[in-house]
Amino acid sequence: MNILLAGEGGQGIQTIAETLAYAASLSGLNSSYLPQFGVEQRGTPSVAFVIIDKKPFSANRFKIADIAIVLRERAITRVVDQINPKTTLVFDSSTINRELLPKNHGRLLAIPATKIAKENLQPKVFNTIVLGAICKLIPGLDEAVIFESLKHFLGKKFIQSPALAEMNKKALDLGFKFVFEKDKFSAPSFQVSSKPITVVDEGKKSTVYPSLCKGCGICIEKCPVGAISFSEEIGFFGNSVPKIDHKKCILCHNCSVFCPDTAITIEKKSK
């Protein structure tokens, strides 16, 4: 079985892929995992090839995926040439607009994993939720062996923080129990606005560009009066985007000076 995963650096694509491949080998199957990504640590497509078979094999890549999982709109280009009408295409409906997906797939399934992670647990276990969901599609794998495999990779962190282990177990369970959206898909609610957010208030004008913001939190850290906090807006990496409390702001400009992404600024604005 050929499984292709495509997302973005930072989403945990490689962890999902590696965990699946290792889980398969724990279950007595033959498996292979191959990562494929560029030089950037973040932001560019992160792709993984997983092959699982009862028989031994030597390949590490394939042309057509049996299951293709897309977790970021920007990564769609990486699956387009590797699916055909027999491929089961799985996508994150909370961030990906279904219209942008290639059309020549077989079954189309979705899980609004980003939304589930944010609303029920924490954004960082998004990939574990996906892992739980897709293991249902692979014969020979069950929830228990997946968690075993996950412990193999994150074991040290689980020992340091039992709360993290608990959260991952819950995430896995949530994903496993989730019934894939088949005909009706959630509308993507976590999309990055391409327009700046401009606020004029208290004699000041602030501008935030969600399409540039990566949610590093430095502006919040460097604001001397605590005037900045995260809002509900989504940024370039699916992160939260800050907003400025104009009342508190003293126009020191630390936020715009420190922002690595030139994503935030505020200036005096007489009405």
């Binding site: 990504f37 560029g38 950037e40 560019t44 497509p45």
Partner: protein, 339 residues
């Protein structure tokens, strides 16, 4: 205008005649006189740029920078220095930078000898971590060190591939009459960096493969125009001898003495080792009964030649006289042929 000079000094004069304005290098026998001559010229002429760098690696990269900026520039090295130059040459190969590198071969591997060899053929043709998109000339006399240096600058800037001139320690040091004919129409250099953001590291296999493919296609297209050879003797001869650089001239003098008409021995001389004149070689191999390889290496040029030979057409015998790090004398050639 004729001067009695060494091959190394002839190369320096060739660079000047070709319009070179900058040289970056590191002293290493047997190429040091090239650097020395340039340094002295730059002392007297503000227009010329010289930097003796901290090592050959730095020289290769200073050269890349200068060429990017649109200035005809070169370096000169040998042996272990040629090995270090591969880092800079790889970058030049990827970006198609018209650098000129003069390599005066010496015994290898490692620091071997400082004298002579023909052992840097594979290194200069294919030494980087790429496909060898380089132009390589092989000179055999001090005169050719002058002529081919001019040719190297022309080819580099005309076709935009890093160009290497292979000489050897003997012709570098040998002095003889060199005719310093000025080139007719030296090609103009152009700024290759202006208004550009240039990278050589890509994130995706596809993007880079496409870019590399374009470079390969350009090389293939230019190859017939760059490839050069010469032939001595009659097509009807039974034997074809192939040799390059100074070994070629030794072979020729040997054949001239035992078979002055070239009735029995025809000699094929690749002037460019890269691109190799394979099509032409096959043409001359037709109807030949025997092919001789003479080179001062353990078959480096032979490897390149054999890759091009159509052995369905040439069914003759292949004989070799390989003398890695040793030079041939006329008597050696005659002895081998007669033996």
């Amino acid at each position: 205008m004729k001067e009695f000079i060494s091959g190394n000094v002839a190369a320096f004069k060739g660079a000047i005649a070709a319009g070179a304005r900058a040289m970056f290098g590191y002293p290493i026998t047997p190429s040091t006189e090239i650097l020395q001559s340039w340094s002295e010229a730059a002392d007297k002429n503000d227009h010329l740029v010289f930097l003796q760098t901290e090592d050959e690696t730095a020289a290769g990269f200073c050269l890349n920078g200068a060429v990017l900026q649109g200035v005809k520039s070169f370096t000169a090295t040998a042996g272990p220095g040629t090995v270090l130059m591969q880092d800079g040459l790889s970058m030049a190969e990827n970006l198609r930078l018209p650098t000129v590198t003069i390599v005066m071969q010496r015994g290898g591997p490692s620091t071997g000898t400082v004298n002579y060899s023909q052992q840097e053929v594979l290194l200069t043709c294919f030494g980087g971590n790429g496909e060898g998109l380089r132009i390589v000339y092989s000179a055999g006399t001090p005169q050719e060190m002058y002529d081919f240096t001019i040719k190297a600058f022309d080819s580099a800037w005309r076709y935009r591939f890093p160009t290497i001139l292979l000489g050897d320690g003997y012709i570098g040091k040998q002095k003889s009459q060199v005719d310093l004919k000025a080139p007719l129409n030296p090609i103009k250099s152009v700024n290759l960096l202006s208004g550009k953001n240039i990278r050589n590291c890509y994130s995706s296999e596809d993007e880079f493969a496409d870019y590399l493919k374009q470079n390969i296609l350009a090389f293939e297209k230019a190859a017939p125009k760059i490839s050069e050879f010469s032939v001595f003797g009659k097509n009807s001869a039974e034997n074809l001898i192939i040799a390059h650089g100074s070994t070629y001239f030794t072979v020729r003098e040997a054949i001239e003495s035992i078979d002055p008409q070239g009735k029995h021995y025809q000699i094929f001389r690749p002037i460019t080792l890269r691109p190799f004149p394979g099509t032409d070689l096959n043409r001359y191999l037709k109807n030949k009964k025997r092919l001789w390889f003479f080179e001062s290496s353990y078959g480096q040029m032979q490897m390149i030649a054999k890759a091009e030979i159509d052995f369905t057409q040439f069914k003759g015998k292949v004989q070799t006289d390989f003398r890695p790090a040793k030079s041939f004398l006329i008597e050696d050639i005659i002895e081998t042929i007669r033996g």
